[in-house]
Symmetry: C2
Subunit: 347 residues, 2 copies
Amino acid sequence: MATLKQIAKELGLSPATVSRALNGFPEVNIDTRKLVEETAKQLEYRPNKIAQKLVSGRSGMVGMIVRINPRSPFDRTFAEIMLGLSSRLAQHDIDLVFQVASESDPVESYRKMIEKQIVDGFIVNAPVANDPRIAFLTKKGIPFVVHGRASKDAVHPYFDISNNGVTETAVRHLAALGHKRIALLNGEKTAVYAIDREEGFRATVADLGIHVPERMIVNGQPFELYGYEAAKAMLADATPPSAIICVSTVVANGVYRAAGELGISIPRDLSVIAHDDDIPQLRAENFVPPLTVTSAPLQASCGPLAEILITRLGLAQGTPLQQVAEAELIERASTAPVLSRLATPWT
Amino acid sequence: MATLKQIAKELGLSPATVSRALNGFPEVNIDTRKLVEETAKQLEYRPNKIAQKLVSGRSGMVGMIVRINPRSPFDRTFAEIMLGLSSRLAQHDIDLVFQVASESDPVESYRKMIEKQIVDGFIVNAPVANDPRIAFLTKKGIPFVVHGRASKDAVHPYFDISNNGVTETAVRHLAALGHKRIALLNGEKTAVYAIDREEGFRATVADLGIHVPERMIVNGQPFELYGYEAAKAMLADATPPSAIICVSTVVANGVYRAAGELGISIPRDLSVIAHDDDIPQLRAENFVPPLTVTSAPLQASCGPLAEILITRLGLAQGTPLQQVAEAELIERASTAPVLSRLATPWT
DNA sequence: TTTCCTTTTCAAAACGTTTTAAATGGACAG
DNA sequence: CTGTCCATTTAAAACGTTTTGAAAAGGAAA
């Protein structure tokens, strides 16, 4: 593969001139430029990124580190994120370096990657409250963007959906159908999104004057089995919920299975609504009956996420560094007006 | 961050000596070495990877390119691969550069990445027959390893499971239970693994003297819906299968749903067996009834895959560059002796 | 003719390493 | 005293770019 030096030698020019010609600097003679460009094309010249990086100090790569825990709730969704993100970043000629966080210390992997000096910034996902990674990167002054927020008043760059809004929308939808016994199958307690959803849930039911006992607000890793077990427990209660809000479609899947086994009909005896990340494999519209959801496609978050990071890296301008999107209610057949025998509120 | 030069200056040594001291060369005085090492530690020196790469010509990174098609059957499994692979590679201080194949031309992304000269090799997944990527990389002389095989007699480095063996095992298991009407819900026709499974299936049924009509051997993208629809069609046949072999657990999920809707009991009226990549979210043992499978955990393939690539890169020795693993039969409750009314063979 | 621009090109340094070839200094033998 | 060998260290080149400061060439104005 031809180098810049070779082109220079070939044409009897200095590397400096060739470099300038190829990088569109104004001070090079039009004929020289053409000559250089032609020769470069002919010799199939491609600038050596590594060399460029050495002098520019930039690597043109960003890192993404995910937890290795095979039970992590995000290995289902992170594929979606990576697909979208990587293609967006590629448009700016930025590569994505992927790594699994092998250490128990959550910042260790970031530290190592920074020390290697191979990335210019990071995409951080699945933030928890007071996330040490965010504190670390902020202290180090390394650019990053978070998918989600460390807290409602976070000062770092992020893209997030309104998780308070998700549960508020769900509760109001169910309340409008007459439901008074609404349960919440939330995500992991440490995840910021789950905290926000719980907050939105509590605020909205309070606003509507609905009382929800603590046993009807539960947390868990968003898997099918969690939905199944939690729903089974709730539906065995003396006063079971007439509606369940699920953290994700996978969890709703488990709720469906539990209801099926117990002979409880959806939506007649039980309304189910879930938040939908819109992952190709498990489509809410293919549920039987089709699942009502609050929808915020993960893919849609990739564009903004990439833009924000690029802006933060100083490679673009004008993008707000903090963005919040609203989820959309998509009404299908899993929610219906409450049966009168289930319409008595919890005491 | 301290550089090697700075350490040299600090100690009044030449960069060469410092470099040698830090890299464990024998010809440096023991006292000098200690001094250098201490100073390096004290100044928190970390070698600049980019600079090392420039001189060594190696980048210490390998690339993995996946297709962007959101309906691709592999976005479900590639997360698993990447998790395992990345952590294995990290042990050898190799980073994984991830990219989505945005071009319609399958080799275009590889070409670009090679031209940037930022990776030393590739992991290629989901090979198809006569895969152009493999031909391209071979021609270019770029090291790579394939997860799967381009063909049975492939000459490139690969790790694969015996896909002929998968269907052979399944067929023999069912035949031993008396089944004579065995259907195959295979993967996409272009995928090499599906070709091999079909071959193994046909060879084994032929060996056992079982005739299977062409309509009972079907191909499709391994999603739940495919399993559902294909099973519905087959079970509506005048002579429905008494056993179905599924390409994956997800597809088996669809078969279960179809059977449930048709009032067909598993395993009494229908035996179901699937191949299990052992993905955390959909566990065969949680099926109702628990699903009999041929199991070959994807995670288990990551170690060999990484070893092979590292060997191919010349960073290790002794690993065979081509490895084939056998899938294991795990008998659960979804397969049972055939009912006598279903025991008549297809004609 | 000199001075002063303008346009274009160049040599050299820089980025942070590794590696090659050579130098230094001391010990020892002759 | 000279030469050889050894252990250790060094200067310099190399990797492939970009960038800085300067120079060269040519023309116009004084």
